[in-house]
Subunit: 353 residues, 2 copies
């Protein structure tokens, strides 16, 4: 029997989310999650939340959360956009800001969702390969384009670029909108949020999923000129007026206001990262200088895929990408010191086999 | 100075969410919110939630929530889709299921977001006017189309259609995908979820925002054939892998499992609605037979706009739509008996001015 209605279905290659294990006795350092719990202030807010209020729609403007972010970044609430995780924020940015005829551009090693959004929203794109050192060359971005998106620090390379890089990018792209995805910036990267005051065509996105240990709550945000933010709001309000729920608004604001806890957590992760980087180099690995909560490593005389598979059998989950150029690299999220010791011990065990 | 980058901005008419008042001493019966708190089981889940787990991404498949819904509706988890409120679910349905060349069709009095999504996703549409009695004529939907979406009960008319109506619709639309938006069905409407087993091209959407008092948490869902659900999943996973957060998954499942509380709350609202309907009719209003948690009313010798404005000055917030055909109607959400008594007293006060 013919089913003509199936012709109306969207033909789309399903994006498959990364592996999730439900086992408890594992070292899960494959999703760039934070090993430390969120701020105790978040615990307080949630466990004391007046659940009765959930019968009402959340504030459509998420004012409490925007106010906390605006104070934190020294901007106004109209310079802040919030969404259901930074994937939601960036997806809305693609729809709102990338409507030119020219292709948008981004590095060829980068966040794997960019081509997926381009496909979903029918946006043309072009990529510029990163160098052999995985650095992004700003000179590549001189060519006329329909928009620029770059993560800084980049993923999965872990490498951060400085403000000179961003300034060059903005100089070369006066006629485009530039989106800098700062998902990993709090682990020692350099934020360009301040430059949004200078460049009206610069949007910076961020997330509560990494440095704020709130991946489970889904909070993302963007900082930019009122012009850019107002178009993001228009698209968001044409999609779903209430993307950030009442608990996320309250808990997110509490997280932002607990700066001491935030700084201490980030510092711990950075210290562990530096130690693990050094230990892996001592074991003969090439490890990029990371500004993120993960490291990107290889050892050319070994198969990283085999190593990844071996670690998995020992309940240590790291990330392997079967992607050209990096098919012999692994990405290792930074866990607690104890977790990283288990990882290093298992690694040494593998190396001595 | 010319700003060429502004040419890449999406030109879109911003959708403006309904009025929200932050005053506390008001009767807010303008957003079809539930006047009763969510199930005490939801309170338990949230106030005892192990916030430490929020550092991890939520389960991308929201398995706990899908399992609870699948058990409730007597289907399998692969027949269930969940999202960030039913607006998210329906927006994804528009992108996933309405990709034909022909316009999609829906009634001309209906949920005001449908044309907004059509505009956002560049979907052509055609509307069929409801009758003078606000009923939807299934014969209108015989014409070839690119998809059908109808809320049942309809909004803002409050009128529900029966299963014969749905069967006719499905008979006339063997080559289209039909989406029935059951946001208000739990207040005495007739659900067609059972028919999704018979018609592979039927998708039914629902929400936790009305009958389950969880508007603040943003949970929506859809029930349909594995074919339809798999395409919704593919589009969702191309947009944002984690649209439903960890707290919503746990709280939503708890709400579904407390069926006694759910039934009792819905019954209270239905009883109050019937009383208010009768009292308003006694006051000379024409009130549609509602199957929803709101009523749709007029009195042809009065200006509903003026009445709406008067009530607002008395801190009683109902909804007025400045829309052709219904510009002399008001929509009144069903609150607690006490709230509705204040509403009725204020109404009587207005009538005797």
């Amino acid at each position: 029997m013919e089913k003509l209605w199936t012709e109306n279905l969207r033909k789309i290659e399903p994006y498959v989310p990364g592996e999730q294990s439900t086992k408890s006795d594992i070292v899960k350092i494959n999703a760039n999650e934070n090993p430390y719990p969120p701020s105790p202030k978040v615990q307080e807010v949630i466990n004391n939340f007046n659940v009765e209020n959930l019968r009402l729609y959340p504030n459509a403007n998420a004012t409490e959360l925007k106010t906390a972010l605006a104070e934190y970044y020294g901007v106004e609430t109209q310079n802040i956009f919030v969404g259901n995780g930074s994937d939601d924020v960036i997806a809305i940015a693609f729809q709102a800001l990338f409507n030119g005829d020219l292709p948008i551009v981004y590095p060829d090693l980068t966040y794997s969702f960019y081509p997926v959004w381009c496909s979903l929203f029918n946006i043309k794109y072009k990529t510029y390969p990163v160098g052999d050192d995985f650095r992004i060359n700003p000179e590549d971005y001189k060519e006329k384009n329909g928009g620029v998106i770059i993560p800084n620090p980049n993923a999965p390379t872990s490498i951060g670029e400085d403000l000179d890089f961003i300034e060059k990018l903005m100089e070369y792209n006066r006629d485009s909108i530039v989106v800098i995805d700062e998902a990993y910036v709090d682990f020692g990267g350099v934020s360009c949020v301040e430059l949004t005051k200078k460049y009206e065509n610069l949007l910076v996105t961020g997330t509560f999923s990494k440095s704020r240990s709130l991946a489970g709550l889904r909070i993302g945000f963007a900082v930019g000129s009122k012009t850019l933010i107002s178009v993001l709001e228009a698209v968001k309000n044409s999609y779903n007026s209430y993307t950030v729920d009442a608990l996320s608004i309250a808990a997110g604001a509490a997280s932002i206001r607990d700066d001491d806890y935030f700084k201490a957590t980030c510092a711990k992760i950075i210290a562990t990262r530096e130690r693990v980087t050094q230990e892996m180099r001592n074991l003969g690995f090439t490890v990029a200088d990371s500004s993120a909560n993960f490291i990107f490593a290889t050892r050319s005389d070994l198969s990283m895929k085999d190593m990844f598979e071996y670690l998995k059998t020992k309940n240590v989950f790291i990330r392997y990408f079967n992607v050209p150029r990096i098919e012999n690299y692994v990405r290792i999220s930074i866990g607690t010191d104890r977790e990283m010791d288990i990882f290093l011990d298992t690694l040494k065990e593998y190396l001595s086999l």
